[in-house]
Symmetry: C2
Subunit: 303 residues, 2 copies
């Protein structure tokens, strides 16, 4: 409890690991805390083709390369779940975890974001028994089965493309009449013979016995209701910043994302935010990494 | 001349190629223009260990991986030297090159920066004959010889470390009494037995016959002059943004770097700047890439 780090980094996704890489090279005395697996959201990404230099790589493999890079530079990750962060009387940053507290002169919050829930009946009941938030984690369980993806963004369309490789039939239900996903993903999706797009369609209830066997849908223009027999429901309707433990220590926007300037400085001196939890983040891997670069370079100058 | 692209991208360094990668995935109709080799400044970087996911890679190899990535997504680079850019009456962006003009709805300027000169006698005369701005390009010519590096930033210290592997003796002259380079580079440098640091020291004249054989130095605190016998002079005193062809079309800072907001928008609607030529850029590869991501994502929304 007496040791004071130069930097405490919370979260070992692309932003947190990049912060560790830069902090290692700058010979800063830092601790990088992660409660689960290194890699953050990309662990569950089947294929990444927008991280410059890797034409096509699984998110899992990319996460591993990032962790190897960190270790190559002498860095490491400390397993700990964060309970709270606060300022001490001396302006130090205290990170309270389930396995003790850490003190640091500066703090980088890089805990990313988490999948958003639909909030419909059956969703929680069948979670892990037919309801999934990660096609690339769970898709393999649905070989030759029928699934439905809910959502219209990049992840939803990517999930449907992924599932179409193994499933007999894939529905994708979107509440509007056009996807937000990038065009080449849409083109890929619409070329797949076993994918059926349901426009203006929302989930009402997920049904089953032990496992999911159906979903009730409503066409939101006509009010028409249908029930589809499905074996799996993949929910891809966005994500929420993992900033609860931050409380009101730093300024957040209405979504709970942390407000920063271009140097990733938050409203509190010496506290930085990097990655998908930053307000206005484009939620891309390279952007998260670049956030961390900006934060550590600024810390390096400040210390 | 009649064709109107969605985007014209000028420069195929990490920023320009990332813009191409994102534009390809977004199925934008774009042209990516480059006057020399793809890769920009990193081509001349011996070792990159701060691009997350690649523990250690030569800049040349990283540039090649980026170009392969671009090509994997169907992108390509058009060779052309830019003469000027201007707006048409319709608000289109016209890029004038030596091999014709191109019209585009939007423009991303990503031409990077260029090595700065010392401006001392002999520098131009012996350029390519003992004077170099790129240790990783030319260092191999100085095996078992004596060289001097001028500068005190990351690149200068990296250059000295690189040269120490092959040269008999390496001096590094810096006009101040501490380096700006990151600490782990300094530690590496100072541990090398064949490197000698000359503090408060500036170059006055580079001398030789056919090739460099000496450099005149001045100690800027005492005024004391010395002459050192050297075979090569490596100049690493920063860089200048390659923005001359931009004229006053968009707002620049006092250094000629282009002023943008966090979306990389310049003062002119539909013109973006990405990478080292952006005012306030941290001049890191990942930051340049993330600039391009922000620019293309904004363009994708605008078009």
């Amino acid at each position: 409890m007496n040791k004071i780090y130069d930097v405490a980094i919370i979260g070992a996704g692309p932003a947190g690991m990049t912060a560790g890489i830069y902090a290692s090279r700058a010979q800063l005395d830092y601790i990088l805390l992660e409660k689960g697996f290194a890699g953050g959201q990309i662990i569950n990404t089947y294929e990444v083709e927008n991280y410059t230099g890797f034409s096509s790589i699984s998110g899992f493999d990319l996460a591993q390369k990032m962790q190897e890079h960190l270790q190559y530079l002498g860095g490491s990750i400390t397993m700990a779940e964060i309970k709270a962060i606060r300022l001490t009387e001396n302006g130090l940053k205290e990170v309270e975890t389930e396995s003790g507290s850490f003190l640091a002169k500066t703090l980088i919050i890089a805990t990313g974001a988490t999948a958003r829930k639909l909030g419909v009946p059956g969703e929680e009941q069948f979670s892990g028994r037919g309801v999934s938030y990660c096609a690339t984690c769970d898709g393999a369980f649905y070989k030759d089965k029928t699934t439905i993806v809910i959502g219209g963004g990049d992840v939803a369309v990517e999930d449907a493309i992924y599932l179409a490789r193994m499933c007999k039939k894939v529905y994708i239900a979107h509440r509007r009449d056009e996807f937000r996903a990038v065009k080449n993903l849409q083109t890929k999706l619409l070329a797949l013979p076993n994918v059926e797009v349901l426009w203006f369609t929302e989930a009402e209830e997920i049904k089953g016995n032990d496992f999911v066997n159906a979903i009730s849908l409503v066409q939101n223009q006509t009010g028409e209701k249908t029930e589809l027999a499905v074996d799996g429901v993949f929910i891809a309707v966005g994500s929420t910043p993992n900033t609860e433990f931050v409380g009101d220590l730093v300024e957040k926007d209405g979504q709970g994302s942390i407000i920063t300037n271009s140097k990733c400085q938050t409203s509190v001196d010496g506290i930085y935010a990097a990655g998908d939890l930053r307000s206005g983040s484009v939620r891309q891997i390279m952007a998260a990494c670049a956030d961390a670069v900006a934060a550590v370079m600024d810390i390096d100058k400040q210390l």
